[in-house]
C-alpha cells in the first residue's frame, strides 16, 4: 500500500518534474555561447545540435521502432537539398523568414520517407535494413547523375541572408545562426519526445518488442512502422534544413553511406534505449571528430575501437552506462561507489592512455618520414627512436592494467553492495 501511494505521488508530481530537464536544457543552450565565444566553438556547437536532431530522428527508428536503417542520411540530405533550392528561389525566399525554412526541409524529408516507407516498412529486421541500404546507395549514386537537383559532386549552395529578416536579424553571424538552430533543437527534441508519448509512439515500442502481439491488439505492425518512419523522415529533414542554413551548401557527402553509417555509430554510442542517449552520442562523437582529429590522425581508429568496445561491453551505450547507476543512487548508496571507482578507473585510464601512447609511437615509428624522430605526446616532446619513452609507455600500460585488475573485484563487490537494499531499511 505504501508502495502505491509513493508511485501515485510521483505521478502527480510528474508534470512539473518532466518539465525540468527541458527548462535546464533551454538555459544551457542560451548560456553555452557565453562560455564558448569563439566562432569555431559556435560552429562546432551548431554541428552538434544538427547531429543531435538527426540522431534523435534516427533513434525513432532504431531505438523506438526497432528498425535498423543503413541509409537514413538520404532523408536529411534531401531535406537539406530542398532547402538550398528554396534559398535560390530569390522571390519566394525573400518572402519567408529564415526561421521557417527547416519546415520545408522536414516536409521534403517526410515526402521521401512516405514514398520509401510505403514499401520498406512491410517487414522489420533484415529486409528493412537491406532495403534502406539499397535505397541509400541508389540515391547517393543519383546525386552525381541527377545534376539538376543534387548539383553533382560539388553540390549546390545558397545564401541564407537573402531571406526575409526575422525581427531585423539577417543571420550574418554564426551566433545568430546558433540561436536559430538551438531554437529548432529544442522544438524538435520536444516534439520527438512527445511523439514517443502518443498512441502511435507507444505502439512503435510495442511493435519493436513483439510485432505479432501488436497485430493481435488491433494494430497493423506495418502501419505503425510506417508512421514512425515518416515522422523520423520529417525530423531528419529538419536537421537537413538546419544543415543548409548553417553551411549554406549541400553535397554528395550528405547522402552517402558514410554519413548513414556515422549516424548509426553516433546513436548507438549514445545509447538507443533512452531518449537522451543519442544526444550524448552526438556530443561525444562531434567532439571526437572535430577536436580529437586536430590532435591525432588516428582519431578514426580510436573511434572505431570505442564503437566496437561499446557494442561488446555496453550495448546500452553512454546513456545505459549512466542509467545503470540510478538504482544505487535511489537506494542512497551511490556514494559508496566513488572510492572503488577511483581505485579502479584511474589505473585503467592510465593503462588506456599508455596504450594510446604506444599506438601513437608505433605509428610514428612506422609512418613518420625518416629523420623525423621527434614526436610530441601529452605535451612531452621526445625521440620516438629512443628506448626510454617505450619503456615508460609499456610500464604505464602494464602498471595501469595490473592495478586495475587487482582492484576490479573490490569494485564489483562495492557495486553489488550498492545495488542491494540494506536489511535495516526494510
Amino acid at each position: 500500500m505504501t508502495d502505491q501511494t509513493a508511485s501515485a505521488n510521483m505521478r502527480a508530481g510528474s508534470m512539473t518534474l518532466s518539465l525540468m530537464p527541458w527548462i535546464v536544457a533551454a538555459l544551457v543552450l542560451v548560456l553555452l555561447p557565453q562560455i564558448f565565444t569563439a566562432n569555431s566553438a559556435i560552429t562546432i556547437m551548431n554541428q552538434m545540435a544538427i547531429t543531435i536532431i538527426f540522431a534523435l530522428a534516427y533513434n525513432m527508428l532504431l531505438g523506438q521502432g526497432g528498425m535498423l536503417s543503413f541509409g537514413h542520411a538520404v532523408y536529411m540530405g534531401v531535406g537539406g537539398f530542398a532547402c538550398v533550392h528554396i534559398m535560390n528561389m530569390d522571390d519566394f525566399f525573400a518572402s519567408i523568414p529564415l526561421v521557417v525554412l527547416p519546415i520545408f526541409g522536414g516536409l521534403f524529408g517526410m515526402g521521401l520517407a512516405t514514398i520509401v516507407g510505403s514499401f520498406s516498412t512491410r517487414k522489420a529486421g533484415t529486409v528493412f535494413a537491406m532495403i534502406s541500404l539499397g535505397v541509400g546507395e541508389l540515391i547517393a549514386a543519383c546525386s552525381v547523375i541527377i545534376v539538376a537537383f543534387f548539383g553533382g559532386e560539388e553540390g549546390i549552395s545558397g545564401d541564407r541572408t537573402y531571406a526575409m529578416p526575422t525581427f531585423g536579424v539577417e543571420f550574418l553571424q554564426q551566433i545568430e545562426v546558433y540561436y536559430l538552430i538551438a531554437f529548432w533543437l529544442l522544438i524538435s527534441a520536444a516534439l520527438m519526445y512527445l511523439f514517443s508519448r502518443t498512441p502511435v509512439g507507444r505502439m512503435a515500442n510495442a511493435v519493436r518488442d513483439n510485432p505479432e502481439r501488436a497485430e493481435f491488439l488491433g494494430y497493423s505492425a506495418r502501419w505503425v512502422r510506417f508512421y514512425s518512419f515518416v515522422a523520423s523522415g520529417f525530423f531528419a529533414g529538419i536537421a537537413g534544413g538546419l544543415f543548409a542554413i548553417n553551411y549554406e551548401i549541400l553535397t554528395e557527402e550528405n547522402l552517402n553511406a558514410t554519413s548513414s553509417g556515422t549516424i548509426l555509430l553516433v546513436t548507438f554510442l549514445g545509447g538507443v534505449g533512452f531518449f537522451f542517449g543519442p544526444i550524448l552520442g552526438a556530443i561525444a562523437f562531434t567532439l571526437l571528430q572535430t577536436v580529437l582529429s586536430l590532435e591525432t590522425e588516428l582519431w578514426a581508429f580510436y573511434a572505431g575501437a570505442l564503437f566496437v568496445a561499446t557494442v561488446m561491453y555496453f550495448p546500452g551505450g553512454l546513456a545505459g552506462l549512466i542509467m545503470m547507476h540510478v538504482p544505487a543512487i535511489r537506494l542512497g548508496k551511490g556514494s559508496r561507489l566513488i572510492l572503488p571507482y577511483i581505485r579502479t578507473l584511474v589505473p585503467a585510464a592510465i593503462c588506456i592512455l599508455g596504450a594510446a601512447a604506444l599506438i601513437e609511437m608505433i605509428f610514428h615509428y612506422r609512418h613518420a618520414f625518416a629523420g623525423d624522430e621527434e614526436m610530441t605526446l601529452f605535451w612531452i616532446t621526445f625521440n620516438s627512436h629512443d628506448v626510454l619513452p617505450w619503456i615508460v609507455a609499456v610500464g604505464l600500460t602494464l602498471a595501469g592494467f595490473f592495478t586495475a585488475r587487482a582492484t576490479a573485484p573490490a569494485l564489483l563487490e562495492a557495486w553489488g553492495d550498492a545495488n542491494t537494499p540494506d536489511r535495516m531499511q526494510v
Binding site: 532504431l62 526497432g66 535498423l68 514499401f119 517487414k123 529486421g125 533484415t126 529486409v127 535494413a129 537491406m130 532495403i131 541500404l133 539499397g134 535505397v135 546507395e137 541508389l138 549514386a141 547523375i145 541527377i146 545534376v147 539538376a148 553511406a257 553509417g261 548509426l264 555509430l265 548507438f268 588516428l298 578514426a300 581508429f301 573511434a303 572505431g304 575501437a305 564503437f307 566496437v308 561499446t310 557494442v311 561488446m312 550495448p315 599506438i359 605509428f363 612506422r366 609512418h367
Partner: protein
Amino acid sequence: MDLVLVNLIDGLVTGLLLFMLSAGLTLIFSMMGVLNFAHASFYMLGAYFAYQISLAFGFWMGLLIAPIMVGLLGAGVERYGLRRVHQYGHVPELIFTFGLALLIEEVVQFIWGKNQMAYDIPEVLQFTAFSIAGNSIPAYKIFMIFISIAIFIGLLYVLTRTRIGMIIQAALSYPRTVEALGHNVPLIFMGVFGVGTALAGVAGVIAGPVLGTFPGMAFVLGSIVFVTIVIGGLGSLWGALVASLLIGWLTTFSKAYNLRMEDFLTFIGFSRPDPIWDSAWRDLWTITSPQVADILPYILMILILIFRPYGLFGKRDV
C-alpha cells in the same frame, strides 16, 4: 559477337570472385542469422596478408598461408567477439560487425599506410592466355576462374558428401537438436565462421593483384556482397552462385554496351525535350548504361525484396 564472348568471360571472372565472398557470407548467415558486415574486410585482410607474405616467400606461399591466417582471425572474432554480442540480439550483432569493418580498415591503414600496395600477379602467370579479336585474355583470369570453380566444387562436396557437412547442414536448421546429439555446436559455428572468412581471404589473395590492394578495397566491395546473397536467397549456396554470376554479367554487359536512356525513352513514345540543357529532366535523358551499371544490383535487390523477399533460391524470409 567476339566481344560478347570476351564480356562473358570477364563477367564470369567478376561473378566468380563475388561468389567466393558471398558463399562464405551466406553460410555464416544461415547458421548464425547475422549478416556479417565485416566480411569484405576479411577479403581485404586476405590481400594484405598475401602481399606481406609474397614479399618474403612469393605469391604461392601467400595463396596458401594468407587464407589460413584470415580464417584463424575470423574464428577468433567469432569466439571472442560475436559470441559475446550474440546474447544481446541480432541488431547489436549486425552493428558489431559494422563497427568491426570500420576498425579493420583503420588497422590496415595503421599497419600498411594509405597507399596502394605493389602487390602483383606472379611472373609465371604474366602472359596472355589467348586473344579474341584483339582483346587479350590474361592467363591470370583463367587461373582465377579455375580457383573459384575448384572452391565451389570442394565446398559442395564437403557440404553434401561428408559427415562434417551433414552435421553443419543439420546445425544450420536445428542447432539445439544437433547439440543434444552430442556435437559441439559452438565449435561448429566457430569453424564455419572461420572457413567463411578464409574463403573471403582466398578471394582477397587472388583479387588483390588485379583489383588493387588498398584500404578502400573492402568498402568498394562491401555492400555489393550483401546484395548478392539477398538476391540469391539467404542461406542458399546455389542462390549465391547464380546471383553472383547474374551480377557479374549484368554489370559487365551494361558497362560494355552504351545503352542510352534517350533511345529507351524515345522508344516508349516520349519526345526529346529541346533544347535538352534547359529541361528539368535533362539528367534522365542523358543517362547511359555504364553510368548506372554499378547501381543496377541495388535496384535489382530492392525489387527482389519487395516482390520476392526470400530471394531467388531462398527458402525463408530474409
